[in-house]
């Protein structure tokens, strides 16, 4: 008997805990249902708001994909991914060793080779066929060089530019250059593109938040009666606010889906012309699409923006809705 009572007593908190979880989930389910129902009462307005949001969100998404594809394109030039350091003519063996040691510290350097002035001259004579002309010069005009092969998959454009800058500043290095100059320009362009994309993410994010905020603000005004009724029959502030927060999240989620759809359509449309263009230059390149991670991150971000927008609406209306 005592055991049974003890067992019953122990199970009571568990029941209460289960019940409160059930109530919490039920109230979220209700809020979700309420907000979906309210969205469906004015389908055209809802669709237009979501569509506008989707188009806005597709801009940073497209820019992200553009930058990603250009980065991918530059990765294809493995053989061009090399940097040459031109040394001062009087660089000592000790200084050359110091540079080589320094260069090997970079994890993305696959191989670093030193060519002395004589060897450089020999290679130049062989490649140019100007042996006799060069013999007329009193001394070897060519400096020693260190050529570095990179592993482009293990580095970024930024890291390469930083490394190039650092090595150029060494006293025995006269200059440093990418073997393909345009690759350096592309790297700078990509850096600019990424910075632009980040600025655009912020701006569009702010725009979408304000857009959702304004839509929710109007909804708050329209549903004032509903809020009063809920308040009167004992709904908590959280309960009253929740359908509007869900509404913001739905705007974000559906807007995000439209943006993804627009982006997928753009990729699909551009895929064939890009293939044809690349094949003209005997290249193999396929447009990179959004990964699963990209898609999930993007949707989560747009849902968060919608939620933030709803919060903004409540902050804007805090005087009128002081009891909520």
């Amino acid at each position: 008997m005592a055991k049974a009572i003890m067992k019953k007593r122990n199970s009571l908190p568990q029941v209460a805990w289960r019940e409160s979880v059930h109530r919490y989930l039920t109230s979220h389910y209700m809020a979700c249902k309420l907000s979906l129902r309210n969205l469906s009462t004015s389908p055209l307005t809802t669709f237009l708001s979501i569509f506008a949001m989707g188009v806005c969100l597709s801009l940073p998404m497209s820019l992200y994909l553009f930058v990603k594809n250009i980065s991918h394109l530059s990765e294809g030039f493995d053989q061009g991914s090399a940097i040459t350091l031109y040394l001062n003519p009087h660089a000592s063996t000790k200084e050359v060793d110091a540079i080589l040691q320094r260069v090997k510290q970079y994890p993305f350097i696959k191989k670093a080779t030193f060519l002395g002035p004589e060897k450089t001259l020999q290679e130049f004579e062989a490649a140019s066929g100007l042996k006799d002309t060069l013999a007329l010069l009193g001394e070897n005009p060519l400096p020693g060089v260190i050529t570095m092969e990179l592993n482009p998959k293990e580095t970024t454009e930024t890291e390469l530019l930083i490394m190039k800058e650092a090595l150029s500043k060494m006293s025995s290095v006269k200059s440093a250059a990418f073997d393909y100059d345009w690759l350096e320009k592309l790297a700078i362009f990509l850096l600019f593109g990424k910075a632009l994309a980040h600025a655009l993410y912020l701006l569009i994010g702010l725009g979408v938040t304000l857009m959702v905020g304004n839509t929710i603000r109007l909804a708050l005004e329209r549903h004032r009666d509903e809020m009063d009724v809920l308040n009167l029959v004992g709904a908590t502030k959280a309960f009253i606010r929740r359908p509007f927060l869900y509404r913001g999240m739905f705007y974000g989620a559906f807007g995000g889906m439209i943006a993804l759809l627009v982006t997928y359509i753009a990729i699909f449309t551009l895929s064939n012309p890009t293939q044809q263009l690349v094949s003209l230059y005997q290249g193999i390149f396929t447009l990179e699409n959004l990964t699963f991670y990209d898609t999930v991150t993007f949707l989560a971000a747009s849902i968060t923006l919608g939620w933030l927008g709803a919060i903004v609406a409540f902050v804007q209306q805090r005087r009128a809705l002081k009891e909520y």
């Binding site: 109530r23 308040n231 009167l232 029959v233 502030k237 309960f239």
Partner: protein
């Protein structure tokens, strides 16, 4: 029990809705609040529902001083009340069933219990056959009855009605008042604010007379008969 201790309510625009009102309403009692428009009847009910706060004095309901109830506990206090106004404020996008079920859904009742209670409340107000209708398709009297069903569905201890028959014809008004009387008979404390003196005279319950925010008389039915 509901007790007003020297309660004054002054609105921000300077209007004094209630002035130094002291009043006691016993548990399970049915009381009519009489007075012209602007007498302070609605404010008195709003103070009980914590929709307004007194400027001076205090109000005790079931032994609890309302001014000491924390803001986050107010919704739980309101769940003990049923509030009916002249405009029942029904949600037009929701069916009659959903409107009535609202307090139960908020309180976290399960679906089965909610359906059972809602149907019982609708049956009591004679609208069981209208559960799937939306409020705009109902007459004013029916809408008011839906409002009453919503106010009583969670079996409140106090029923506050602010001009519940304001828009209704005499016959329907009488019917609604009889409905309130039935709730009073099962032990609910009922407070009805109305300016319809003739209607209230047909019921033998205490009448509290208010004028310009002041308590004029508070007569029991018997006293009233003697005075008459």
């Amino acid at each position: 029990m509901i007790t007003f201790f020297n309660v004054t309510k002054k609105y921000p625009n300077g209007h004094v809705a209630l002035s130094n009102v002291s009043l006691e309403i016993a548990s399970g009692e049915m009381v009519f609040l009489q007075g012209h428009s602007g007498a302070g009847k609605s404010t008195l009910l709003k103070l009980i529902a914590l929709l307004e706060e007194p400027t001076r004095g205090h109000l005790v309901v079931s032994g609890k001083n309302l001014s000491q109830i924390k803001q986050n506990k107010v919704p739980y206090y309101r769940r003990k009340l049923g509030f009916i106004s002249q405009n029942p404020k029904l949600l037009n996008n929701y069916s009659v069933f959903e409107n009535v079920a609202m307090p139960l859904m908020i309180a976290g009742f399960d679906r089965f219990d909610t359906a059972r209670r809602v149907r019982a409340a609708l049956e009591r107000v004679g609208l069981l056959d209208k559960e799937h209708c939306n409020p705009p398709t109902l007459s004013e009297g029916e809408q008011q009855r839906v409002g009453i069903a919503r106010a009583v569905v969670h079996k409140p201890r106090f029923l506050l009605a602010d001009e519940p028959t304001g828009n209704l014809d005499p016959e329907l008004s009488l019917e609604i008042m009889k409905l309130f009387e039935r709730f009073h008979q099962v032990g609910v404390t009922v407070l009805i604010a109305s300016h319809d003196v003739r209607l209230l005279e047909t019921f033998p319950y205490r009448k509290v007379q208010l004028a310009k925010g002041q308590l004029i008389t508070s007569l029991q039915a018997e006293e009233e008969l003697n005075h008459g």
